[in-house]
Amino acid sequence: MPRLVIDDLQIEVPEGTKVIEAAERLGIMIPRFCYHKALGSAGACRMCAVKFIHGPFKGLQMSCMIDAQDGMVVSTTDEEAVAFRRQVIEWLMMNHPHDCPVCDEGGQCLLQDETVSGGHGLRRYPGRKRTYHDQYLGEFIAHEMNRCIHCYRCSRFYQDFAGYRDLGPMQIANRVYFGRFRDGPLESPFAGNLVDICPTGVYTDRSSRYKARRWDLQRVPFLCIHCSLGCSTVASARYREVVRIEARFNESVNGHFICDRGRFAYPYANLADRPRRARVDGEDASLAEAVRAASGRLDQISMNAGPDAVALVASDRCSLETLAVLKRISREKGWRHPAVFPRPDLEHKTRRAVSRLDRRLAVSMRELESADFILAVGIDPVHEAPMLALALRQAFREDAGIVVMDPRPVSAPFDFDHVAIAPAEIGGCLSRITEALSALQADSAAQGKETRRPEAAGPLRADLDSRIAGIVERLRGSRNPVIVCGTDIVRDSTPDRAADLARLLLQLKARPCLFFVLPGPNSFGAVLLAESPGRSFSDVVQDIEQGKVKALLVVESDPFKNFPDRERLERALDRLDLLAAMDYLPTSVVGRAHIVLPTCTVFECGGSFINQEGRVQRVEPVHEGGIPVHQVSGGGHPPRVFSHEVPGGEIEAAWRTALEVAGYTNARDNLSILKIMAEEHPGFARCRDIPTSRSFRVLPDAGDRPPVCEETGDRAAPEAADTLEVVLVDRFFGTEELSGYSPVIQNADSEPLVFLHVRDAEPLGIAHSDWISIALEGGGLEVRAGVSAQMAEGVLVIPRHRLLEWQKLGPVPAQIPFGRISRAGKE
C-alpha cells in the first residue's frame, strides 16, 4: 500500500489509487471535470493539475492520471498549479455562455463552482464564442451544446460505460460536438444520467426545467420503487411538488447511476387527478368521515357474513409498513390476509426465490459486476431490471462471459450468447447443467444426490446439447460465476432450479452466486410477511364470484392493471357489498369504489422496501404532502389562498389510515409502526436501530431446503405444433404501473409490439411491423407485430402494455392456435 504526502498530510491508499482519489480521502477536493469515479480518468480537462514535488514524477502533472506511489510528495496549492488551473478555467470560459441565470444547472454547476474557486473573475478574451446548434434528444433531456466544456464525461458514460452508440463526440478541435448524428430521442434507457454527470448545463432534465434552483429544493436521499432492484436516488421537491429525481451513489446497489424509468416516473405523485379528497358513495368527505364509514361497514359485514367475507388486496408497491399493518389488522380482525400478487404463479415463484436466497448465496448488483461468467435465465434485463443490464455491462467490460437463456428477443448493451428457448425449457436446461456439473465433480457425492432429482422438464431439443455443454464448461472454468434468474415468465420450479445450480456453484467456488429478479419493488417484503402458501388476487376473485367475499379493501393496488380478464373482474367487483380503495393513484378501482381513502405517495410519507436481494431500505418523506401549490393557485404564483391547513394535507400514509380503519387509534406514531413491523417479522427488528441512510439484508444464514412436492406444478411445454405459447412480459416503459402515470414517460413511450419468431410469422404472411389481429373468445386485439429471428420459436410475446388492452383477450390461454392470428387490414 503506497504511502504519500499530499499538502503535508500523510495517507496510505490501496495500490492503483489515483492521486486525485487519495487527496479526496484526505478531504482535499482537487478540482476536476473529466475525472469521475465510475468513468475513470481521461486526462481531458487538465483541471486536476497539481505539483509533484518528490517521488517518481516531478513538476506539474494531472492528479487523475497518476497512481499514488510510495514517497510521493504532492502540493495542490503550489503557485504554479494554481496558476495553471486558473488558466484552464479561463480557457474553458472563453466559450462558455454567460447564461447562468436561465440555466437549470445554475446552483449545482461544477463549472460555476470551479470558476469561482479557481479565481477566474475577469474576462480577458474579446473573441467570438464558439456556438452550436442544439438537438432534440427526446422528451427527457434538453440539449444546450454552447455550454459544453468538453470533458467527455457524457460520451464516456454513454458509449463506454453504458454501451450505447447514438451519442458521442463528432468533429475535432474547437468544434467538437457532443450529440447524435441527427436529432432524435436518445436510444439509451440510461440517458438520464447525462444530466447528473455533465458538469455544466448541456444536458438538463426537461421534466424539471425552469422549476427551481437546487438550493430552493427539499432534497432527500431516496429510493427508487419502479422495479425490484431498489436503486438509490435523491428526490427533490418544491412547493409540495416533486420536481426532480437524481441518482445517488450506493456502494452495493446501483453505483452512481439509475435508469430513465426511475428518473422520470415521479410525476405520478404530482398528478392533478390524484385522489386528494376522501369519498363515500360518490360524495366528497373528510378523511375522518370516510375512515369511519369504511370502518363501520367493514365491521358490519364481518359481523353479518363473518370476518372471512372481508378480503384485503395490496400490491408490491406498498411499503413494508403498510404490508405489516395489513397483516396485523387482518389477523386481528380475522379478515382475509392481503393478497399481494395478481397471479398465483408469481406469488409462488417469488416465495420460492426468497426462501432459497441466503446470506452465502445472495450477490449484490455491485458484486455482480465482478463476476467472470453470468448465466441469466428467464430475464430480459433492460426491461425487467434495467440497472441490472448496466451491471452486466460492467462485468462484460471486464471480459465476463454472459449467456442469456430466454425466449424473448433480448437486446442488451453487451455481447452475450442468447439461448432462445421457450419458458418451459429453461428449468430443464438448468437441471441438466447442474447435473452435468455435479457429475463432473465426482468426489462430491453428497450434493450429487441432492441435485439428481427426477426431472419434470419437457423434452429438450437436441441442438441445445452443445450449448448446454458449453455453459457447463464455462461455469467450470470460471472463478466467480453468477446465476441470474427472473421470476416473471419462467415456470414455477425454475427459481428452485436456479437456486440448486447456485448451491452447487457455491460449493465449487465458495463465492456468492445467486441473483434473483423479483416482480416488484417490495415483492420480497410481501412474501416475508405473507402466510404460506399465500393467496393471489385471482383466488379472491373466485371467492367473490362464489359469494364468499363480500367486502374488499384494496390498498395501493390496481387489479385492473394485472388481472387478465377485465369483464370478469368488473362483474365480480359489482357483486361486492363494499369496495373500499386506498390509493394515491387515480386507478380504475378508485373510480368505482364505494369508499375512497386517498393515501400519500412514498415521497410524502417515506417507507421501507426490500429489494430482490433482501436489502431493507428505508427513506424519509421528501415533503409534507398536500396539493402542489401551483395546482391550488391555478398556476398563479405566489399562491393567493391562505389558510391554516395545507390543502390536501390531511392525507396520510396508507398504513396509518389502515390502522384507523381497523380501529387502532393509538398506534399511529413512528415508534409503534417499527414495533408492529418487528412483531410481524423478526427480521425487521433491526429497522429500529439503523438510520434511514443505511440498509441491511434480511436473509437467513442458510436458505430453505428445496421442497420436492412443488416440482409437479409446472405447466408442460406446448405439445401441439399449431399453437403459440403466450408469454406476457414487462417492458422498460409502458408496463410498470407508477411510471405509466408519468406524462413525460407517456410521451416518450413507443408503440407496443407483439413479438414472434420469423419462422412462425412467415407461414402467416406476417412481416415486421405489420398490423396483426389476435382473435380470442374474450375479444380481439389489433397490434403491430415484431418479427425477429433472435427469439424462441413457438412463443408469442405480448407486453402488458398500458396502450395495449391485453386484458381484452379474456382469460389468456396458455396457447394460441395459429389460426387465431392473422394479418390485419390496417396499415
Binding site: 483541471m47 474553458l92 466559450n95 480577458r124 475535432i172
Partner: protein, 602 residues
C-alpha cells in the same frame, strides 16, 4: 559525362524507368508508360529494352521523369507526346533528346547522367535505395536487388541477437521522436503477453511531408521486410500498416505487396520455414493529423475515435487491444533490412556520434529543386539547400528553414552551417521531426509562418484536452491580431505565457509541441514580431493589413515589374520614373511585391 559516345543501339539489359509516384502520375505518367510500351513494341525492341515503372526518384519538381539505364540519362518534364522521340532518338539511335535533359542551374550545362546531378550526387540512399529503380508492384524485382535477405538472416538469429544488431546500428525512430529503435523493440520483446502487435505508422500528417508516402509507393516490400524482422524480434505475429486515406497509391501498392508476399508464403503461417507466423493488415486512416500519434492511432485501429490516451501505460506494455505493441514509422522500418544485411556496425558508420544513418527530407519552400532527398545524418543545412536544392530562386537570401513541420521550429541563417542531426537541431530549438524541410527567404514573414503552422495544429487538435483545444485557439487569435496590426505588447507576453502553459499542460505531443513554431520564431525573429506590434509593419511585406502598397521611391529602380504584374491595373508607370500605385484600384493581391526584386513596395 561522355555518355554520348558510348551510346549505340540498345543491348539487352537496357531499362527505361518511368516514375509513377503520385507526383508524376498526376502529370500523366501512366500515359507515358503505356506509350513507351507501345513504342518499344512498335520498334521491335521488346526483349531488348525493359520498360519498367517505379516509385519516386525524388526530384518531383522536374517530373514526370524517365530514366534510361544503364546510361543514367535523366529526362525531365516528359510529356506523353515526347515518348516516340525518346524511343527514336535515344533507344534506337543511341542519342539524346536534348531538350528534355536536366540543365544545371549554376553551370547552365546539360547533364547526361543523373549521377552527375548536384541534386543526387551528395545524397546517400539507404531508405530510398530502391525507390526509382524497382517496380513496386513486383516482388521479384525487389528480390532481384537482394530483397528479403534481411528477414532470412534474422530468422537464423535469435530474437535477442536481432534486437542487439538494431541497437548496435544506433537507428533512431524516424517518426519524429527519435527514440532508439532497438531499445523500443527490447521493451516490447520483454513485455509479457500472449499476443503482441506491431504497427507501421504511415499516417504522415505533417503538412508538406511525403517521405513515407514515397517509400510505400516506391518500395513497399522493404517496409514489409522491416516489419517482419521487427515482428520476429519482439514476438508479434500480427501487424498493421496504418495508412492515411489521402495516400491511395501507397495503400494500393502496399496491398499488392502484401498479397504478393502472402502468395509467396513470406507472410502467413510458418514463414521461410522458420516456424514464425506473421500477418500484416492494412488499415486506412481518415487523415487526422492526431492519428499519427501512437495512442490515437491505436484507438483508431480499434475502431474508436482517434484521440490520444495518456502514457503510461506505454504501447509496449498495453497497446493495441490492450496488448503489448511496438509502433514504428515507415522510414524506420525501411532501414531495417539494410541493418540486417549489412550489419549494425556498417549502419553506425554512417552519420554522426549519436545520430546514425541517413534521413529523408521533403525539401520545399523557397528553393529551386523541391523534392525528396536522403542525406547522411550530420550533413550541414547549407549543403542541403545550396547543393542539393540548387539554392534559393530569384537570387533571394536564405532566411530560415523550418524542420519538424508544425511541431518543429526554425533554423535561422546564423545556424546555416549546422550539421543536421537530432542533438544539434534540438539544441537550436527545432527538432528533426519526421522530415519536413521548408526553406524561407526574405519574402517570408516569420510571424505569418508561425501563424500558418498554428492554424494547422489548432484545426487538427483532436479536441480532447483543454490547453490544445482552446489554448491554441487563443494563441492563434493573438497571432492573427499581430498580423493585422491589432496587438500590443501585453498580448505578445500573453502569447508566450500561453505557449508555456500549452507545452506543459497538453495531453499529447500535438499540443505539447504546437507552440514550438511560435516560440522558435520568437527566439530568432523577435524583431519581426516587434515590428508588427510596435511599428505596425510587416518587414517581409506579407501581412496584407500592414502593407501600405506604396512605392518607395528610394528603392525603386523604375523597372516596371510591378506594373506588369498588377492584375488590377492599379500601377501606373512610365519608363525611367518610379511606379505609382492607385490605392483605390489596388486589390492588395501582393503581385507587385512578389514581382519587385528590389523590395521597393512598402
Amino acid at each position: 559525362m561522355g555518355a554520348e559516345a558510348s551510346k549505340s543501339k540498345p543491348d539487352i539489359g537496357h531499362q527505361v524507368l518511368v516514375c509513377r509516384g503520385t507526383g508524376c502520375e498526376s502529370q500523366k505518367a501512366n500515359l507515358i508508360y503505356s506509350n513507351l510500351q507501345d513504342e518499344v513494341r512498335k520498334h521491335g525492341l521488346t526483349g531488348l529494352v525493359e520498360v519498367k515503372f517505379t516509385g519516386c526518384h525524388g526530384l518531383c519538381q522536374m517530373g514526370p521523369t524517365v530514366v534510361i539505364m544503364p546510361a543514367g540519362t535523366f529526362y525531365c518534364n516528359v510529356q506523353p507526346e515526347d515518348v516516340s522521340e525518346i524511343v527514336e532518338a535515344d533507344l534506337m539511335n543511341g542519342g539524346h533528346v536534348e531538350r528534355l535533359l536536366f540543365v544545371d542551374p549554376k553551370s547552365k550545362e546539360k547533364v547526361f547522367d543523373y549521377r552527375d546531378m548536384k541534386f543526387f550526387n551528395p545524397q546517400r540512399r539507404i531508405v530510398l535505395r530502391n525507390c526509382g529503380f524497382v517496380n513496386p508492384e513486383d516482388i521479384d524485382d525487389y528480390i532481384s536487388v537482394g530483397g528479403y535477405e534481411g528477414i532470412r538472416k534474422a530468422l537464423r538469429m535469435s530474437q535477442v541477437d536481432v534486437i542487439n544488431e538494431v541497437k548496435k546500428s544506433g537507428l533512431r525512430g524516424r517518426g519524429g521522436g527519435g527514440f532508439p529503435t532497438g531499445m523500443k523493440w527490447e521493451f516490447c520483446h520483454r513485455s509479457p503477453g500472449d499476443q503482441k502487435y506491431l504497427i507501421c505508422n504511415a499516417d504522415e500528417g505533417d503538412p508538406g511531408a511525403f517521405m513515407d508516402r514515397a517509400v510505400l509507393e516506391g518500395d513497399p516490400h522493404s517496409v514489409l521486410e522491416g516489419m517482419m524482422i521487427a515482428g520476429y524480434a519482439i514476438g508479434a505475429t500480427k501487424a498493421y500498416i496504418y495508412c492515411r486515406a489521402e495516400y491511395p497509391m501507397a495503400y494500393e501498392r502496399s496491398l499488392i505487396a502484401i498479397e504478393q508476399a502472402t502468395d509467396r508464403g513470406y507472410l502467413g503461417k510458418n514463414i521461410f520455414d522458420s516456424g514464425f507466423d506473421f500477418e500484416i493488415k492494412l488499415k486506412l486512416g481518415a487523415g487526422a493529423f492526431v492519428c499519427g500519434e501512437e495512442t490515437a492511432l491505436m484507438a483508431s485501429i480499434e475502431g474508436k475515435r482517434g484521440m490520444p490516451n495518456p502514457r503510461p501505460p506505454f504501447p509496449a506494455v498495453k497497446g493495441l487491444f490492450g496488448k503489448p505493441t511496438n509502433i514504428n514509422n515507415v522510414e524506420t522500418f525501411a532501414n531495417i533490412p539494410v541493418v540486417m544485411t549489412k550489419g549494425g556496425d556498417w549502419f553506425a558508420s554512417v552519420g554522426t556520434e549519436r545520430s546514425k544513418g541517413t534521413k529523408v527530407f521533403a525539401l520545399a519552400g523557397k528553393i529551386n529543386y523541391s523534392g525528396l532527398v536522403e542525406i547522411p545524418m550530420g550533413t550541414p543545412l547549407k549543403e542541403i539547400i545550396e547543393e542539393i536544392g540548387g539554392g534559393i530562386p530569384n537570387k533571394r537570401k536564405f532566411k530560415a528553414a523550418q524542420t519538424g513541420g508544425p511541431s518543429g521550429g526554425c533554423i535561422p541563417a546564423s545556424h546555416f552551417e549546422t550539421p543536421m542531426d537530432y542533438e544539434n537541431l534540438t539544441q537550436i530549438g527545432s527538432i528533426m521531426g519526421s522530415g519536413g524541410l521548408i526553406v524561407t527567404d526574405e519574402t517570408t514573414c516569420m510571424v505569418d509562418m508561425a501563424r500558418f503552422f498554428l492554424t494547422f495544429t489548432q484545426k487538427e487538435s483532436c479536441g480532447k484536452c483543454v490547453p490544445c483545444r482552446l489554448g491554441t485557439k487563443k494563441m492563434l487569435e493573438i497571432l492573427q491580431d499581430i498580423c493585422a496590426g491589432r496587438a500590443n505588447m501585453r498580448d505578445f507576453n500573453q502569447l508566450m505565457e500561453l505557449a508555456e502553459d500549452i507545452k506543459g499542460g497538453s495531453l499529447c505531443g500535438l499540443g505539447q509541441t504546437a507552440p514550438n513554431p511560435v516560440l522558435s520564431t520568437i527566439r530568432y525573429f523577435r524583431d519581426e514580431y516587434e515590428a508588427h506590434i510596435i511599428n505596425r509593419e510587416c518587414p517581409a511585406r506579407v501581412c496584407v493589413d500592414l502593407i501600405k502598397f506604396e512605392v518607395n521611391e528610394e528603392n525603386c529602380k523604375m523597372c516596371g515589374a510591378c506594373f506588369k504584374a498588377c492584375p488590377a491595373e492599379a500601377v501606373t508607370w512610365v519608363k525611367k520614373q518610379p511606379a505609382v500605385i492607385d490605392k483605390d484600384k489596388c486589390i492588395k493581391c501582393r503581385s507587385c511585391i512578389l514581382a519587385c526584386k528590389y523590395h521597393a513596395i512598402d
